[in-house]
């Protein structure tokens, strides 16, 4: 485990904590966003290999020795996708929050428990 992974894990935990404890919808969404970011950092860290360079083929890295000189590009590619998805989810959550505020005149999560049992 390296520092980046640890950093990601800390972000993840902070986000989780925020999501579970804060009552304000916006804060919950921020918590969720932090969790997401934490995961992204962890993902990048998994593909990172010490002392290697970015997986871009140009003058600095030629094709023949690319395999030994660049970090694993796949996690980076995955992260890009995950970020986009996370963005979409966050945006949707925020628009949910707006709609909920319009309907319920409250941003407290505790005011939205009309369906239960």
């Amino acid at each position: 485990m390296n520092v980046t992974t640890l950093f990601g894990a800390i972000l993840l935990i902070i986000g989780t904590w925020a999501m579970l404890t804060h009552k304000n919808l916006i804060r919950i969404i921020i918590g969720f966003s932090l969790m997401d970011t934490g995961i992204h950092v962890i993902m990048v860290s998994v593909g990172y290999i010490d002392g290697r360079t970015a997986p871009i083929l140009d003058q600095a890295v030629n094709k023949a020795e690319a395999l030994y000189r660049v970090v694993d590009p796949i996690p980076s590619a995955l992260v890009l996708t995950a970020i986009v998805i996370g963005l979409a989810v966050t945006a949707l959550m925020l628009s949910y929050a707006i709609r909920m505020y319009q309907k319920g005149k409250s941003l407290s999560i505790d005011d939205y428990q009309e369906t239960k049992w």
Partner: protein, 1053 residues
């Protein structure tokens, strides 16, 4: 064939056009959406067809490269099967949502297409990260679609869903990235070969994270409150797809990744699935909000699918069989749930009672019934066959805890669904159901699809496992005959009562003609009882003035299913016919005016009985591998546990002591001709079953504790308590119901003797009971019809108004009571002789005592109805309809003939008994000999008739000067009674006996069963408090759930 990649091309390309098209015209964008999804349905459909016909599955390598470098898609048989269902559901769903789509901007339709794209992708992709992407596409579109419903609760439910989905996707990413790190690839098939979960703790944890992510999406109990809230509040059109296509795709995702995770997760998944199934249905029993109820049911069904798949795989059942079972549950759930959600959206309101609008809409009610019965697991729907195979498979591997969990969960489910049906069929409401063409049509199409697929599934299972004695007809046709005949009459239900009655009689007759030559002698007795009895009832039913829809279809179905029970050769054949019988009798009972609650109780006890019987068969199969009855008669197999289970089931079904609580209500509240059928004929199905069970037990009996002795006690107690309870009834049909219970007690007692004399007596009582209970109930039908009451103290003096009914009742009660000269005497004589010869003295005493008690209620019956003063309001009463009188007199002649010449019935009955039942009857001409005495029925008859004639002559000759007194030629006291009925002599007819014996018949069984149901309800009520409705609580539950799972499973590592 079109490359499956065009599924996405069509969806994405088309979705971009929806926007511009919407600018032009709303209809244009709508039909464009239809076209897009239509193309998707067509592509998946053509692949399904192609692969089913033996074509190869499609593999798509994107970017022209092979995995792991590229993502590949796979479209095989299973994938095509799911996709064709999902895309067709998607296509119908557009029409179901048409109204909303027309109101909303174009993005609603785009989201809809995106959701379906997600489903297609989830099912086809073989890349684990791509799986994540499609799950997210699907989820995001779904979140947004939930918000279509502009209500506060839909928004908050959607938000809860997003939180849960968000947690799931974070777990998914975490699991996936570490799986990639360990495995070096994202391709599912390559990962499956690596055994990730075995790569130390990290590997196991990665696998666990992926597993729990998909699990959360599949809504396991108790981490599923968010899902229930969504089911409660979103639009039915969206929910139809969430519960069918989305849930199906997620299930398939789990199925796909299971090989990566390895077998160690199977046990966990099995437990999680079955726990979810059990608790969802338990909690669902408390539900009054119908969408939420459907939610509970959906969650439960998915749980069942997971649990069964995992458990059977773990137990090592062959994969093909597991796939057939899981596939059957899947298709059943898919069609039924989508159909129900679509239908639910047409109902205004939230409470179950809102479904009362269906009462005046028989077609819709029919459709609703089909959807519910398929979920409840009645034949011919796939769920029925799946359940049978599950139960057999679990028993085979000794997994009885799982078996009990599934069956108990199913009981809750049946309660939850059929209570709803009762409410829909019986709640009176003034509302008209509004028109929602799209929703209606979509739901009808899926209902029809269920029928078609159900019949196909039945064909498949029947061909593979049936081996009926069917003479000239094929087994699959015979097994489905009750259904087909019923459906046929349903189609011509608009015809008049008499035509349909005649048709029922003719159909039954023709069927008997074909079937009888193939039936063995002993079952043939019952074939005749059911067939001819059914014909008599169908004849009597012509007294009906009102053409009740569904009556004749159900009656036909009931008669033929009873006949089918007697021709069954194997356990599954028996059980299939048995369930047809349960279904049709339940629905017939439900037609009674106030029968809602009683029908529900009846069907719950009947299903309990059916499950006991099924488990009995399963135990038998597990221990011996035997499913056909012929092998059982060889005497080579242990039959103890099966006997207990099957015997208990039969006792429940016939209302034996302790299980009789359903009986009075059902008999009393059914329509009068239906009561006759229940008491005289239907109860004999359980007699037949018990007889078979005792026969097999006797043949296989190898010493040890003799269960037949216990059964004898149960019979004796049923006889006495039935009689005692009958004595104190005011309601005439309840009286007869308890009397039936008592008579069945005699039959059980006689059968339990398991010797020649006992069985002859049992069969003799059986046949006689059909006759005299038929007469009594038909006579009562006429009287209730004429007087408009069932309470005996409201009647009286009917002898002059209804003399024919009087004669019928008189003869019947003489026959019931077992006094000479009528046939009942012979039956009792044989019973007592047998009991005494066997040394069952106390049981003989009890039986004798209950016969004495029977005099009390029989006397009351005739006394309070026919004798005494005629009520003012009954002065205009006429004799019952000839349609009722004629069958009574036919039965009366039967009783007289049998009484006069008992040998014509007794000798054949004795002859058809199998040799394995020890003993012989000693005949000397017409006299039956035993070492305790002898009995000659004809002689008794002649003597009694002679004495009777003498007295009659004396009366006629000497008592001529009798002065006839008019009805009101009596003196009144000058007081007006406060409660008039209490002054009637027939009210509280036996107060002294009540004082003496009332303590014996406190409703203990009723309190017990009420206690069971109250406890169940309050347990469910307590458990469901965990669903607080708070998003954060739900999130917390998800985390805790995962942590608990981790400790349960991970600790072992």
């Amino acid at each position: 064939m079109v490359n499956p990649i065009y599924l996405f091309v069509a969806a994405l390309g088309g979705a971009f056009l929806i926007g511009p098209a919407d600018k032009v015209n709303k209809n244009l964008s709508f039909w464009l959406t239809v076209m897009i999804v239509g193309v998707m349905a067509w592509i998946s459909g053509s692949w399904f067809h192609f692969i089913e016909k033996g074509g190869e599955s499609a593999q798509v390598f994107t970017a022209g490269l092979r995995p792991p470098v590229s993502i590949n898609l796979m479209l095989g048989y299973k994938e095509a099967f799911i996709l064709v269902l999902s895309n067709v559901a998607g296509l119908l769903g557009i029409f179901a949502l048409r109204k909303r789509f027309m109101e909303l901007p174009a993005y609603a339709m785009m989201l809809y297409v995106a959701m379906l794209t997600g489903v297609n992708g989830i099912v086809m992709t073989r890349d684990i990260f791509n799986l994540f992407v499609f799950i997210e596409i699907n989820s995001i579109a779904t979140y947004a679609l939930i918000a279509l419903e502009p209500s506060r609760k839909a928004l908050s439910a959607g938000f809860k869903y997003m939180i849960a989905g968000g947690i799931a996707s974070i777990l998914f990413l975490l699991g996936t990235i570490y799986i990639y790190r360990l495995g070096g690839t994202l391709n599912i098939d390559q990962l499956a070969m690596l055994g990730i979960a075995d790569m130390g703790k990290a590997g196991w944890l990665a696998a666990f994270l992926l597993f729990s992510s998909i699990l959360i999406e599949l809504k396991p109990f108790p981490a599923n409150g968010w899902a229930l809230d969504v089911y409660q509040s979103a639009h039915g059109g969206v929910l139809a797809l969430i519960s069918s296509a989305n849930a199906g795709a997620m299930f398939y995702a789990l199925y796909k990744v299971m090989p990566i995770l390895g077998d160690q997760f199977l046990g966990l998944l099995a437990v999680v699935g079955l726990v979810t199934f059990f608790f969802s249905n338990l909690l669902g029993t408390r539900q009054h909000n119908f969408k939420r109820l459907l939610g509970y049911s959906s969650v439960g069904q998915i749980g069942l699918m997971m649990g069964v798949y995992a458990l059977l795989t773990k137990l090592g059942m062959e994969q093909a069989r597991i796939l057939i079972i899981t596939g059957a549950i899947f298709v059943n759930h898919f069609l039924a749930k989508a159909g129900l959600f679509w239908m639910a959206e047409t109902i205004e309101g939230e409470d179950l009672t809102a479904w009362g609008v269906l009462r005046r809409n028989p077609e819709k009610l029919f459709s609703f019934g089909i959807l519910l019965f398929s979920l409840a697991g009645f034949p011919p729907f796939p769920m029925f066959w799946a359940k049978w195979n599950i139960v057999m498979g679990l028993a085979e591997h000794g997994s009885y805890v799982a078996l009990a969990t599934i069956l108990l969960g199913s009981m809750f489910e049946i309660f939850m669904l059929l209570r709803w049906l009762g409410v829909a069929a019986k709640t009176k409401t003034e509302k008209e159901s509004a028109d929602h063409y799209g929703l209606e049509i979509s739901s009808r199409i899926f209902m029809l699809a269920l029928i078609v697929i159900g019949l196909r599934a039945s064909g498949f299972f029947i061909v593979n496992s049936f081996n009926m004695n069917t003479y000239m007809l094929p087994a699959s046709a015979v097994a489905m005959t009750p259904l087909i005949a019923g459906a046929f009459i349903y189609l011509i239900d608009w015809l008049g009562v008499k035509i349909k009655a005649v048709l029922t009689i003719v159909l039954t007759g023709v069927y008997l003609y074909f079937i009888i030559p193939a039936v063995l002698p002993l079952p043939m007795l019952f074939t005749a009882v059911f067939g001819l009895g059914g014909i008599i009832i169908a004849f009597a039913s012509m007294y009906r003035k009102i053409n009740v829809r569904g009556f004749y279809p159900l009656l036909t179905m009931l008669i033929l299913s009873l006949v089918n029970i007697t021709i069954a050769n194997s356990t599954l054949e028996f059980f299939t016919a048995w369930e047809f019988m349960t279904l049709s009798s339940y629905l017939l009972l439900m037609q009674g005016k106030n029968a809602q609650e009683h029908a529900l109780r009846y069907v719950m006890f009947s299903m309990g009985a059916a499950f006991l019987i099924m488990t009995g068969f399963a135990v038998l199969y597990a221990n011996t591998g035997v499913t056909d009855f012929a092998s059982l008669l060889l005497g080579r197999y242990p039959f103890r546990w099966s006997f207990i289970l099957i015997g208990l089931g039969m006792l429940v079904k016939m209302g034996g002591i302790g299980f009789h609580v359903w009986l009075p209500g059902a008999y009393a509240e059914a329509d009068d001709d239906v009561s006759t059928f229940f008491s005289a004929i239907l109860s004999k199905a359980a007699v037949y079953g018990l007889l078979l069970a005792i026969l097999v037990y006797t043949i296989n009996y190898r010493g040890g504790f003799d269960l037949r002795s216990v059964l004898g006690w149960i019979g004796a107690l049923t006889a006495i308590f039935g009689a005692l309870m009958a004595v104190f009834q005011e309601d005439i049909k309840r009286l007869l119901a308890y009397s039936s219970m008592s008579q069945l007690g005699y039959i059980v007692l006689a059968l339990a003797m398991a010797d020649h004399l006992g069985w002859t007596a049992a069969l003799y009582i059986t046949v006689l009971h059909v006759m005299f209970k038929g007469m009594l109930f038909l006579a009562v039908a006429g009287i209730v019809h004429a007087t408009g009451t069932r309470l005996m103290y409201r009647m009286g003096g009917l002898i002059k108004k209804m003399p024919l009914s009087f004669i019928s009742v008189l003869i019947a009660i003489i026959a019931v009571s077992g006094v000479p000269p009528l046939a009942g005497f012979g039956a009792k004589w044989m019973l007592y002789t047998g009991l005494i010869q066997r040394g069952w003295y106390l049981r003989a005493g009890i039986a004798f005592f209950s016969s004495a008690v029977a005099f009390l209620y029989l006397f009351r019956l005739i006394h309070s109805m026919f004798l005494g003063q005629l009520k003012v309001e009954h002065r205009e009463v006429k004799e019952a309809s000839p349609w009722l009188i004629a069958p009574q007199f036919a039965l009366l002649i039967g009783i007289m003939v049998v009484s006069m010449f008992p040998t014509i019935l007794l000798k054949p009955l004795s002859a058809i008994l199998p040799d394995s039942i020890p003993g012989q009857l000693a005949w000397q001409e017409g006299t039956l000999l035993s070492n305790l005495g002898y009995w000659n029925g004809s002689a008794v008859m002649w003597v009694t008739m002679g004495v009777f004639m003498l007295v009659l002559l004396w009366l006629i000759l000497w008592l001529r000067q009798v002065k006839k007194v008019g009805q009101f030629n009596i003196v009144y006291a000058a007081e007006k009674p406060f409660i008039p009925e209490t002054t009637h002599y027939a009210y509280n007819f036996f107060p002294y006996y009540q004082k003496a014996l009332g303590g014996l018949i406190k409703p203990r069984a009723t309190s017990f069963w009420n206690g069971v149901s109250e406890w169940t309800a309050s347990t469910a009520g307590a458990i469901r408090q965990i669903y607080t409705g708070n998003a954060q609580t739900y999130a917390m539950q998800i985390f805790l759930y995962i942590i608990v799972l981790y400790f349960i499973v991970g600790v072992g590592l």
